[in-house]
């Protein structure tokens, strides 16, 4: 790929999604954008770039950004965060929010829905403890196509076998034709989905008690990471909780969060003095 083409594509993806593509990742552009090129009827990436240069085409730009943002996800990914949710985070909130009986949770990169639905199932499994509570789960993603998939909540046999215990599959899914499984309506109704870009102003989303922002920041450069984390801090009360992915940290990025001791991946906001 010509370096000026790489620059144009990586700048477009970075400006729209925050995703940083270094030149050693040019193979990613090739593998992910070839389907886009085919979709719009051009031969290769050269012609795709020509189209992008010719005129401002919001729908083509969207296709490119969506193809480049990673959607890798699975049910109960890493297990531990969901164990922490029911052992530590939820009991704490049930005590602190006893007057309001309301909890708001945000999955900042919901992808095809596995993470928000895992949270919904984990909460549902808590049964009587959360009965009568208003629990709002918001799932957002930059990619409209994956949001549509999340709303439909139809998963392949392969997807339902990654991370989801068989007892929960039997309990919460119905088998469709072929090898597809659909999550039942009750769990689907627990999650609202919205298209949202993490680089945009977050205030319109409201306040949250828990934010899951796992395995997203790894794709951002340092200033973008700091900016996103600082904005998330504004949405959390003092006793709110932020989840990051196993390979992510706030250390050296921002002082607006600090790790919760002995709870890997969990952070709490730090108020400015």
């Amino acid at each position: 790929m010509k370096s000026e083409d790489f620059d144009l594509l990586s700048r477009l993806v970075r400006d729209r999604s925050g995703l940083v593509l270094t030149p050693d990742k040019s193979y990613l552009l090739e593998s992910r954008l070839m389907p886009v090129a085919r979709k719009i009827g051009v031969k290769g990436l050269d012609e795709l770039v020509v189209k992008l240069r010719q005129r401002s085409d919001a729908s083509l730009e969207r296709l490119v950004v969506e193809a480049m943002t990673t959607n890798e996800t699975l049910f109960f990914r890493d297990t531990k965060p969901f164990e922490q949710l029911t052992r530590l985070v939820l009991p704490n909130l049930l005590e602190k929010r006893a007057a309001k009986r309301q909890i708001r949770v945000w999955c900042a990169a919901a992808s095809t829905g596995q993470e928000p639905y895992s949270i919904a199932i984990a909460l549902k499994e808590e049964g009587a403890k959360v009965a009568g509570w208003k629990i709002e789960l918001l799932g957002t993603d930059i990619n409209l196509e994956v949001i549509e998939r999340a709303r439909a909540a139809v998963y392949s046999q392969f997807e339902v076998q990654r991370g989801l215990p068989i007892k929960l599959l039997v309990k919460y899914f119905k088998q469709m034709d072929g090898d597809k499984w659909q999550l039942n309506q009750e769990i689907r109704d627990m999650v609202q989905y919205r298209e949202f870009n993490l680089l945009h102003d977050m205030k319109s989303l409201g306040q949250f008690d828990v934010v899951f922002c796992r395995n997203v920041l790894i794709y951002f450069d340092q200033p973008t990471k700091a900016q996103v984390l600082e904005r998330i801090a504004e949405l959390l009360p003092d006793d709110g909780v932020l989840y990051l992915g196993g390979a992510e940290t706030v250390l050296g990025v921002t002082d607006r969060f600090e790790p919760i001791p002995n709870e890997r991946g969990l952070y709490r906001p730090v108020r400015k003095k």
Partner: protein, 121 residues
């Protein structure tokens, strides 16, 4: 080192499963039908059983029911691994005491995920 008994009438499936389980640090034993697997379990119970459903002589479900009646037979974690991919079969397996259920085709990631869920890893 934990042990896993692989029960499948397909030599190829046993070979693929053996490779995956050995990479996960399991000592593996193999049987090509339920009856042979049951004989092995009567001598020494493994920590885990990866179990096909459709096999000659004794099928996976019959093996599981017999295993659970052995002394100490409730101990091994049994993970079905079968092309019987419908809800009815899954429910039957769970009722007979299966701990997890893999719908074929499988790969290393699925086996690892299921074995982790039942506390084998």
């Amino acid at each position: 080192m934990k042990s896993c008994l692989i029960v499948d009438d397909s030599r190829v499936v046993r070979m693929v499963a053996r490779k995956i389980l050995q990479d996960l640090s399991f000592h593996t034993i193999e049987a090509e039908d339920g009856l042979k697997a049951l004989d092995i379990c009567k001598r020494e119970l493994p920590d885990a059983v990866l179990l096909d459903w459709n096999m000659p002589v004794m099928n996976g479900l019959e093996f599981l029911i017999a295993l659970r009646q052995l002394e100490g037979g409730s101990e091994p974690k049994v993970v079905f691994c079968t092309t019987e991919n419908d809800l009815e079969h899954i429910q039957k397996a769970m009722a007979a005491g299966a701990d997890e259920y893999i719908m074929k085709p499988f790969d290393a990631e699925i086996i690892q995920s299921k074995f982790a869920q039942v506390g084998l890893i």
